[in-house]
């Protein structure tokens, strides 16, 4: 049984378990906060994208294209290292805030695409009937279109949430302490990459499986567009 200790020493992992637990919790709450922010950003961007004002429309699509065509890591670097050196702004943000902002802005663009697809999947007859009974734009959106779009949107939003959770691992590069950082801690303190990274991989797989079960369940309940 010696080989198992030399390949994966679970006693060391047990010793570091509190660090892994903290890291997992950090990953979960960082992703949750970013998810909520990205949903807000995504909704606002979608509304801008669907508006009839040209400049709003164009700036929304410029934002979406800019985010989709550049890597998240570069976006994180621009926000975390770049914002503080903008002259006159002088806005020093911590790694955690910077990381969450970057994640939310990144995911927001994808959310906007998802939400737009969900809204466009609501039949136009719904809008027309709402107009026919004299509802204003706001009433139409809030009472008719958005509730139906919600059911369409939930499954892909859960898919994007899984991507977001995995993307949050990039924050370890700018020294935010989350699940992957716990693995890096073992690597730097004990030089044990197997114990660090394999445990981290299992942690992410557990989160992934929970999300997968959740998305299968909601798909079965709601049966939205897939």
């Amino acid at each position: 049984m010696d080989w198992i200790f030399s390949f994966y020493n679970y006693r060391v992992v047990a010793e570091y378990l509190p660090i892994f637990a903290n890291g997992m919790w950090a990953t979960v709450w960082i992703s949750t906060v970013s998810l909520v922010l990205s949903l807000i950003i995504g909704t606002l961007v979608t509304l801008a994208h669907m508006s009839h004002r040209g400049w709003l429309n164009r700036s929304a699509s410029a934002y979406i294209e800019a985010i989709r065509a550049t890597p998240l890591l570069v976006q994180i670097y621009v926000i975390y290292f770049g914002l503080p050196v903008v002259p006159l702004l002088d806005w020093r943000i911590g790694a955690l805030q910077g990381g969450i902002i970057a994640l939310a802005l990144n995911s927001g663009a994808y959310m906007a695409e998802i939400i737009r697809a969900g809204i466009e999947a609501v039949p136009s007859s719904q809008t027309e009937s709402a107009m026919a009974v004299g509802m204003s734009y706001r009433q139409r959106m809030v009472q008719v279109i958005l509730p139906q779009a919600f059911a369409n949107v939930l499954p892909p939003v859960l898919g994007q949430a899984i991507v977001l959770i995995k993307d949050s691992s990039l924050l370890s590069i700018i020294t935010v302490s989350e699940l992957l950082s716990a693995g890096l801690t073992i690597l730097s303190e004990r030089v044990m990459p197997n114990e660090g990274f394999l445990t981290v991989a299992v942690g992410y797989l557990v989160i992934y499986l929970v999300m997968l079960v959740l998305s299968v369940y909601t798909q079965r309940r709601l049966g939205g567009i897939r």
């Binding site: 800019a66 065509a69 890597p71 290292f81 770049g82 990039l170 197997n194 394999l198 991989a201």
Partner: protein, 222 residues
Amino acid sequence: MLAMYQNVFPFLLQGLWQTFVISMLAIFFGSLVGAFVGLGRARGNRWTVRGFGAYVHMLRGTPFLVQIYIVYFVLPTTNLAVFQLTSFQAAVIALSLYTSTYVAEIVSAAIEAVPRGQNEAAQAHGFNGFQTLWYVVLPQSFKMMMPPMGGVYVLVIKNTAVLSVIGVTELVREANVSIQRFPSFILSVFLLVALMYFCYCYPVLRLTRWAEKKWGGLHLNV
């Protein structure tokens, strides 16, 4: 300012070239592996379906950053000669495996999107399993695969940025080195890097959208 750009630009271009090379290699090997896995999931027996399903979920369930660390740090501890990889080799292997899961998903979805009647008609003409696939199903599903493959290519390009953590000298790595020489230009350098990625990815995104309009989209499960 101008002197900085004159100094930095050649290195960034070199990094962009390396990004291009790695993304091409990864999309090539990833497509080969992915086509195999996708076929196994769409047309294999019970065991290949389960085995490849587990493969896809394992790679989809972990962040790409963790996968690179495992390929680069964990595999060499097995003391097998094949796994003593340079950072470039580790990068190509990790990125190809990551790419293969997306390709597999596309291939199996495209094969399943071909109407059942096509298969039955081919069998009625006495085609065997391989002939049905090669002469009837794949030519029809190939067009459906193209638009989502464009999306995967963009994803691959963007993920090469993460490879900088294991010391592959691609665009982000070159940018980090340049910033150590010119620390006060950090924002300009990163914005330039972002622009370079944009110039590489945006045409592919536009092409993808055009192909989607022409050949129609494909419903993907994951």
